[in-house]
């Protein structure tokens, strides 16, 4: 019975992340539009886009290989598995010990690996440029993320998200410089990883500035829908991860009742709304960088990650 309960929570979580991801994207777009004094599309527009894409036939280039057709599902699956174990409204999900934070980054890395390969499959220059730049961004963003994880894990003594979230609610943790630095660094990494402004513009099709869009240029129909959904899922994943680590309030334990889950869910929604609005605000206020400024931005994130692991020594220990 307990097992069924735990399993149910896990399944709800898996469904929840997929269901919420387009909403978050739609919400961010809406807020951005309003900030620019446009009316903007409905927050439900991403759902409409996805269903329309799903129903269309897929047009595949003549010389595309099997990898091109398999990759969207693999990318989606890897991102989904990673998103399914992030504590959103409840900690201690039944499969949360399957992957820890390092493995979550690894799973996102797998997804990116296949995305870059899919971009190169047809053999166009746009696909190649996108893949090349995406991998360059990853070469800096991934170590930055791992250093952030190190600084968190060295403080919390665990790489398990549930444990870290629980640890962060202790009053002894207090305000720590290393955590503040880690927060700044993780936000920088999240912006880069999700191809947001100032790294990449999720709304453009301008060849010279795009990274993510260049890779998926050849995709259409259901394949494109899977990749888009995976990208939305990744945004939700990073936002959930940040709020789970740095604002871990009102996360429910594995054996809570349904009412408790409901309040947990409500506070999760509030956190998402605040986070999404802040992202939209930030994106509206910033201009996109040149591609070769990006390494400097990410290099700074990497340095901040390193600084976070260092500054842990001057925080009070207990």
């Amino acid at each position: 019975m307990v097992l069924i309960h735990h399993l149910l929570v896990q399944i709800v979580q898996m469904a929840l992340v997929v269901a919420l991801a387009p909403l978050l994207t739609g919400f961010v777009r809406k807020v951005k539009a309003r900030l620019l004094r446009r009316r903007g599309a409905s927050v439900l527009q991403p759902y409409r886009d996805l269903t329309r894409l799903l129903r269309k036939e897929a047009v595949v280039a003549e010389n595309a290989s099997w990898l091109f057709r398999v990759a969207p599902y693999l990318i989606f699956a890897a991102t989904w598995v990673a998103a399914a174990v992030i504590p959103t409204f409840a900690t201690g999900l039944i499969f949360s010990w399957t992957v820890d934070l390092i493995a979550i980054i690894g799973l996102l890395g797998s997804a990116r690996f296949f995305l870059a390969l899919a971009g190169m499959d047809v053999g166009t220059s746009f696909g190649g440029i996108g893949a090349s730049r995406e991998m360059l961004i990853a070469t800096l963003a991934e170590p930055a993320m791992l250093l952030i994880i190190f600084s968190l894990a060295l403080i919390a003594g665990s790489t398990q998200l549930s444990t870290i979230a629980a640890f962060m609610t202790y009053p002894q943790v207090g305000l720590r410089v290393s955590l503040a630095v880690a927060l700044i660094a993780i936000i920088m990494v999240a912006i880069a990883e999700n191809a947001r402004i100032p790294i990449d513009n999720p709304a453009t099709h301008l060849e010279l500035t795009m990274v993510h869009e260049a890779m998926v240029l050849e995709y259409s129909g259901r394949h494109l829908a899977m990749i888009e959904l995976a990208a939305m899922l990744k945004l939700l994943l990073y936002l959930s991860m940040i709020v789970c680590i740095f604002v871990p309030w009102n996360l429910k334990g594995p054996d809570a009742g349904y009412a408790a889950y409901f309040t947990g869910f409500a506070s999760y929604l509030v956190k998402l709304i605040v986070g999404g609005a802040m992202l939209a605000l930030f994106e509206t206020a910033t201009a996109k960088m040149r591609v070769f400024r990006v390494p400097q931005f990410l290099g700074a994130a990497l340095m901040l990650g390193l600084l976070a692991t260092l500054l842990r020594f001057v925080s009070r220990s207990f």
């Binding site: 280039a61 989904w80 990116r112 690996f113 053999g123 020594f313």
Partner: protein
């Protein structure tokens, strides 16, 4: 018959194969006969090693044969450490032989390869089996020479001759350093047996000196920066299955040498040696993979990536050394397990990658990435196996490379308890270096696979390729399966490694096969856990589920159409992204600092008839900053000493006389 005797019989059988090969090398049957024999013998040796490793009463059987130094004899012993490395060596040997059955048919000078292939295996096996310094060094040199002969197999190519020359110089240098190291360990009494060295007390000065010499000797064989220069030249020069052996296995024999001396023979080295190992390991990892990312020769790129993996192994060893010194047995066992696991994994995927590169080479005649492309359509099985290896070596879940890298990271997270400030601060930074190298590895292998196998064929050669032969495919398929298996069931490997860590650092990781759901839990479940099997199943299930649901309820229509490419018309194969252009952003970011890379573009004004020029300047700082000056100095000294060749008899006699007097003086003053 004890297992060590069985092992030695295998070695003897391989030696007999060498003799046989020397006689029948020019016959048509030679290739299948020799490789089948090597395959069979390696398989037996592999099983012996595995049985010895997994048998609970691992009582290290020893054997003394009346060869070698007359008062010493040749000692052989099979403890868990040796058993593990024998497993790695013979598994690699068996797969290389299997691959050679097919690949060898394309060899145009089989008599230059066949006798030396089993000899190479003999050398590696003997290094690991030997239990005294004399036998060890003899086998080491035998291994070096056999592999040198294999590097020189295609000696008509000037590049190969140069590679062979640099290799033999570096190998001799390495053996010299090892000779001195063992001489120091043996002490003035000449106690060359490993047992005597283990029992002896070494002063900190001796230990430090032995450590430095060991890093020079075995480190150069393993390919540690800055002694790596020979490796990317020599490994690709050999035939591909030998490249796989050299990269996947011989570097591991060098790692074995380091572990044997550092963890077994010298007692406890000073803590700063762990710092040195860590820093060299981290630097090696990053520099190796950055070189790989810039390289456009497929096999040389793989050789550079070997350097990276050796760096990862040494980071694990350095951590184990630091933890052992601090008395943290559990953490030391974790780090040691991670290093050994990485050794095993690297032998899997690097062999597989070299096999794939060999298949591409025989089918297209090309090693240059820029001239390949679209091979996934012509060589689907090879492409799939190569893809598996690419994912595995990029340390991505659920494959084996991730499992071992994850363990290294977990070991790094144990560092706050270390007593030395320098280590607690530097270990996370080294972790950052490892993470950087893993991320660059992913970029590097996306590039390798994407350029060689995806896209459109650029040259006739790659357009006309066909699938590799059955034997090669079998070897690649089994290795790909092993990459996946070791990735999803890491607990079994970790448990199998426990006798080794118990021997080396006096502790072991918790039993993993008892953990529910076959997860791995290095320390405690609340700290960290990882389950490759479930990750694999979940990804597979989610992908299958989404594909099925979409195909069932949404749409399954598919239309083939010309390439879209933003509506750009007239796309042809030469307009693809090339390997050089793929690496360009990374070259700008990392290359300006690490390689002093400079780009210069001369774009003529509109209307001018001169062509636009792009120049790239690129420096290998190790080669230019270290090797060339040293070579220059050696050349200078040799030039000066050359005069000694033209003296009169009387002067020669006076030289001998002076030397004699000098030695007598030293003897008089010494004691």
């Amino acid at each position: 018959m004890t297992s060590v005797a069985l092992m030695l019989s295998c070695v003897a059988a391989l030696l007999a194969t060498v003799v046989l090969a020397a006689f029948i090398a020019r016959s048509r049957l030679a290739t299948p006969a020799i490789y089948s024999l090597s395959l069979g013998i390696s398989a037996i040796a592999f099983s012996t090693g595995l049985v010895q490793l997994s048998s609970p009463a691992a009582d290290s059987p020893a054997l003394v044969l009346p060869f070698g130094l007359p008062w010493l004899g040749a000692h052989f012993r099979l403890d868990p450490l040796a058993a593990f490395f024998l497993v790695v060596v013979n598994l690699g040997g068996a797969f290389a032989s299997l691959y050679g059955l097919g690949y060898g048919r394309h060899e145009h000078a089989p008599h230059r390869v066949l006798p030396f292939f089993p000899a190479f295996l003999v050398g590696m096996n003997l290094v690991i089996l030997s239990d005294d310094a004399f036998t060890f060094l003899l086998s080491w040199e035998f291994m070096s020479l056999a592999s040198w002969a294999l590097v020189m197999a295609h000696h008509r190519d000037a590049g190969n001759r140069r590679a062979g020359y640099i290799y033999i110089v570096m190998a001799s240098f390495g053996t010299l350093a090892l000779l001195l190291a063992f001489g120091l360990l043996a002490g003035p009494d000449g106690a060359y047996g490993f047992a005597a060295m283990r029992a002896a007390q070494h002063t900190p000065f001796t230990t430090g000196l032995v450590f430095v010499l060991l890093m020079l000797g075995a480190g150069s064989k393993a390919g540690l920066v800055p002694l790596h220069v020979w490796l990317p030249l020599a490994h690709p020069a050999a035939p591909s299955h030998v490249s796989a052996l050299m990269s996947g296995v011989m570097t591991k024999v060098a790692v074995y040498g380091v572990i044997r001396v550092l963890f077994d023979l010298v007692g406890t080295p000073a803590w700063w040696s762990s710092l040195v190992v860590l820093l060299i390991g981290g630097g090696t990892a990053v520099l190796g993979i950055l070189h790989a990312l810039m390289e456009r020769d497929l096999k040389r790129m793989l050789a550079y990536s070997t350097i990276e993996n050796i760096g990862v192994v040494f980071v694990g060893l350095g951590l184990a050394l630091a933890f052992k010194d601090a008395g943290m047995e559990l953490a030391a066992a974790l780090a040691m397990t991670a290093a050994l696991f990485q050794v095993l994994n690297h032998s899997f995927f690097k062999s597989l990658l070299f096999f794939g590169a060999g298949a591409v080479l025989t089918q297209t005649g090309e090693r240059d990435l820029e001239k390949l492309g679209g091979l996934i359509h012509r060589m689907p099985v090879t492409a799939f196996a190569f893809l598996v290896a690419c994912v595995a070596i990029s340390a991505l879940p659920p494959f084996n490379g991730f499992a071992s890298e994850w363990l290294v990271f977990q070991a790094i997270l144990q560092s706050p308890d270390l007593p030395q400030w320098a280590l607690t601060i530097l270990v996370p930074a080294v972790g950052g270096l490892l993470a950087l190298s893993a991320a660059v590895a992913a970029a590097c292998f996306v590039r390798a696979f994407g350029i060689a196998f995806l896209g459109q064929p650029i040259t006739e050669a790659s357009a006309g390729a066909s699938e590799a032969d059955r034997f090669s495919l079998a070897a690649m398929a089994i290795l790909a399966a092993l990459c996946l298996l070791a990735g999803i069931l890491p607990g079994i490997v970790i448990d199998a490694l426990s006798p080794v860590t118990k021997l080396l650092v006096g502790g072991r990781m918790p039993v993993q096969t008892d953990v529910p759901w076959l997860s791995i839990v290095p320390v405690a479940e609340s700290r960290s856990s990882y389950n490759g099997l479930l990750v694999f199943l979940f990804i597979g299930f989610s992908a299958w589920l989404s594909a099925t649901v979409i195909h069932r309820f949404a749409s399954r229509a598919l239309r083939r159409a010309p390439v879209w490419d933003c509506g750009f018309p007239g796309i042809d194969a030469t307009m693809q992204y090339t390997a050089g252009s793929f690496a360009q952003p990374a070259r700008r970011v990392f290359g300006t600092l690490v390689f002093r890379a400079r780009e210069r573009v001369d774009m003529p004004p509109p209307g001018a008839l001169i062509p636009a020029r792009f120049e790239l300047e690129f420096h290998d700082l190790v080669w230019e900053g270290l090797c060339l000056p040293v070579a220059g100095a050696v050349g200078f000294v040799a030039e000066k000493l050359n005069h000694l060749q033209f003296l009169t008899i009387r002067r020669y006699l006076s030289l001998v006389f002076l030397a004699l007097v000098l030695l007598l003086l030293v003897l008089a003053l010494w004691s």
